[in-house]
């Protein structure tokens, strides 16, 4: 009975919070010309990996820019919020190794949120995390082997995943201890959902271009904020 009342109270509290919550939307743009991406030429020396690319080899993906100048893979988040992680109950995210590349290359999770790493390749990978705040891990994953589960205790930006068997394979995972973040899509657009009303500092972080911030106020109708990164 007590447990039911507690759950009911929590539900009402959450509902009240969400009642005023709104979305932050925006677009990330790139000004200037991004440097040319490079072909991942070492792939051709690996018979298993190169079999996935009978045509042209894939290239690095540091700057994913749409025809309209929208910049993908920018992590947008609220700054100055801590201890609000809902990661333990959030749906797991998946990081797949396919064709000896990571998919997606940039993603964001909450502390305590499960990140499942799959090996869809027919070769062995080592899944090696290189964090600054969390504990490092380095695990071997055989072809057809069981999925690996990762969770992170502490927030940190761009925690690197790499495979040292195939040293061109990288992914970066930003970890937050709150759910108010998004990764910009192929068109540069992002949406942070269900942000409670209030004044915040919004941060946009690109792995190559650094960080920009903006002060915003969320009202019932939400808020919009664009960012423009420039390559000098």
């Amino acid at each position: 009975m007590k447990k039911s009342l507690l759950l009911l109270s929590l539900g009402i509290f959450s509902a009240l919070q969400l009642a005023g919550a709104a979305d932050i939307t925006g677009v990330i743009n790139l000004k200037g010309t991004a440097p040319a991406e490079k072909e991942l030429s070492p792939i051709k020396d690996d018979p298993t990996c190169s079999a996935s690319y009978p045509g042209a080899l894939p290239k690095t993906k540091f700057y994913v820019v749409s025809a309209g100048g929208g910049l993908a893979d920018v992590i947008v988040s609220l700054k100055g919020i801590s201890g609000k992680s809902t990661g333990a109950s959030a749906a797991p995210l998946v990081l797949d190794q396919k064709g000896c590349l990571y998919y997606p290359q940039i993603l964001a999770v909450q502390t305590g949120q499960k990140l499942i790493v799959k090996n869809s390749d027919t070769c062995v990978h080592n899944v090696h995390t290189v964090p600054k705040e969390n504990a490092p891990q380095n695990l071997v994953q055989m072809p057809g082997g069981a999925d690996l589960n990762f969770t992170f205790d502490k927030p940190e930006p761009f925690l690197k995943f790499q495979c040292d068997v195939h040293p061109w394979m990288f992914a970066w995972v930003s970890v937050f201890d709150h759910p108010y973040f998004a990764v910009s899509g192929a068109d540069g657009k992002f949406t942070i959902k269900d942000v409670p009303p209030g004044k915040y500092t919004l941060e946009a972080a690109h792995r190559k271009l650094g960080v920009q911030t903006a002060e915003i106020e969320i009202k019932d109708t939400g808020a919009a904020q664009n960012f423009t990164f420039e390559i000098k």
């Binding site: 490079k38 540091f62 062995v124």
Partner: protein, 329 residues
Amino acid sequence: MNNKYNPALFWFAVLNAVATFLLIGLGGLVTSHEAGMSVPDWPTSYGYNMFALPIKFWTGGAFFEHTHRLLASVVGLLTTILAVWLWLKDPRKWLTWLGIAAFLLVIAQGILGGLRVKWQLDWLGIPHGAVAQAFQVLTCAIALFTSRWWLDSSAEKQVAVPRGLRSHVLYVTILIFIQLLIAATMRHQHAGLAIPDFPLAYGKIWPSTSAEAVASYNAHRVEINNANPITAFQVNLQMAHRLVAYAIFLGVAAVAFLARKKLGGADGLTRLAWFWFALLALQIVLGAATVWWNKAADVTTLHVMVGASALLTGALWWMMAERRTQRAK
């Protein structure tokens, strides 16, 4: 036991020295291919006994890391045999202790390499690289001390090498070792080239290392294998590496000219000094090529091996000069 030349012992010591040199080359390939962590477990490999890892797993970075471990085991075995052999057969106590030192150093080096994997500490690669160079000098010194040239007391009396020249060679050799430490620190940043051009640096004689400049360098870098961003420290470190390289080159050139002047052009040590000078010239070309070819693994590894050879040549030159001077007295 008498202090006589033992060809079997000498050639075994040479074998150990050659194996060590190859091991340094293979270690260089591991780092050049960013493969140091490709086999996450140690002393097992992918859960297998290291010596029973199925060949199908010897692929990509794991090929370099695994073969490095196997060759390291061979060098460990050779060094152990050499230490026991010296203990049993060589009457020189100091050489016996040198053999034991080599044995302890190869064990320490193996553990250091293992801990770098187990503890996932990139910086442990720096002392691992430094100990490798010191160990190589030690194995070659043992080969020299067991050689006929070193032991033959009836060798004709040779010209003493002036103290100033011997000291100069020692200082340059120490400078080369410091240069190898700088190089190991650069390589274990796993950040690729901190400066992408040569002989200039970002188009200047001395590049800016302001926060804005470093941010701009990183924005324009498109690296395939070395994805860490560079820092001002790394830019300054590479500039230091270049400056020390020029200093070493001039130092070795001075050795060659002084040796010719003091010992004569036909002297063995003069010839060795010119060989040393040629090595340094080659090393500078390889350093430039490392930059121009964006740290291509084979070029970079050749740069590592020629660097190791330069250290070794200086150390052996100094030891031979000391021996000759001792004999001349």
